[in-house]
């Protein structure tokens, strides 16, 4: 589960507006509209998928930045993604990574890892001073 709608609890289907590219070709007075291709590579479809993926990953990563405060509904609304079931824009990540118990105290963590760090540094210090087994 990566996103959730706070109105209908849908966590699968969503909608987002993305920009894609179309190719226009004026041929004997007629306008032909099609996907643009470069050497059999469908750039229109690729751009659509990339832009969709970029926006979704951005919203997942920058959860708070993707939200705007709506004074009418008195709640935060997602600026990019809406729910495809109910149309609500109250779409966020299902959890917040900002909670106080996520990490232990840094001093305690450093102290607990002190021995491992000392061995790591010792390993680097003496790495070039290994005993020569076959000395000529």
């Amino acid at each position: 589960m990566q996103l959730i709608c706070h109105d209908c609890w849908n966590y699968t289907y969503f909608e987002v507006d993305v920009e894609t590219l179309r190719e226009l070709k004026a041929d004997s007075g007629q306008l032909v509209v099609k996907d643009t291709k470069f050497d059999d590579f469908n750039y229109s479809q690729s751009m659509l998928r990339d832009n969709l993926n970029d926006i979704v990953q951005y919203v997942i990563k920058q959860n708070g930045d993707a939200l705007i405060w709506d004074s009418e509904s008195n709640s935060y609304l997602n600026n990019y993604i809406s729910c495809a079931r109910c149309g609500s824009k109250r779409v966020t990540k299902p959890y917040s990574s900002w909670h106080s118990n996520r990490h232990q105290n840094l001093d305690k963590e450093l102290l607990a890892n002190h021995k491992e760090f000392t061995e790591l540094r010792r390993e680097r210090k003496y790495a070039n001073r290994m005993p020569v087994l076959w000395k000529e």
């Binding site: 909608e15 993305v18 070709k25």
Partner: protein, 86 residues
């Protein structure tokens, strides 16, 4: 209708960005699958709107200097002869 690149004058293929509404779903492996794509902008409106004319670019040289001629007949005689030809 004719579209002409004022920069290179060679290409008859042009690119136009369009906004679409995309319905997608999260698959079980976390990847995205597209269910539906709906255009949000009218292609005809963008072609006739002078503000959007700069968005059209030449596929060959990338220039935005593009001229669109909707009526291909320069004078009425040509139009009449074309209709007679039909």
């Amino acid at each position: 209708m004719q579209i002409e690149c004022l920069s290179c004058g060679r290409s008859n293929e042009f690119l136009l960005p369009l906004w679409v509404s995309t319905t997608f779903k999260f698959k079980e492996d976390g990847t995205l699958s597209i269910l539906h794509v709906k255009p949000l902008e009218s292609l005809e409106d963008k072609l006739t709107d002078n503000k959007s004319l700069r968005e059209i670019s030449c596929k060959e040289c990338g220039s935005n200097e593009v001229d669109i001629v909707f009526n291909e007949y320069d004078n009425q005689d040509d139009e009449v002869s074309a209709l007679e030809g039909l």
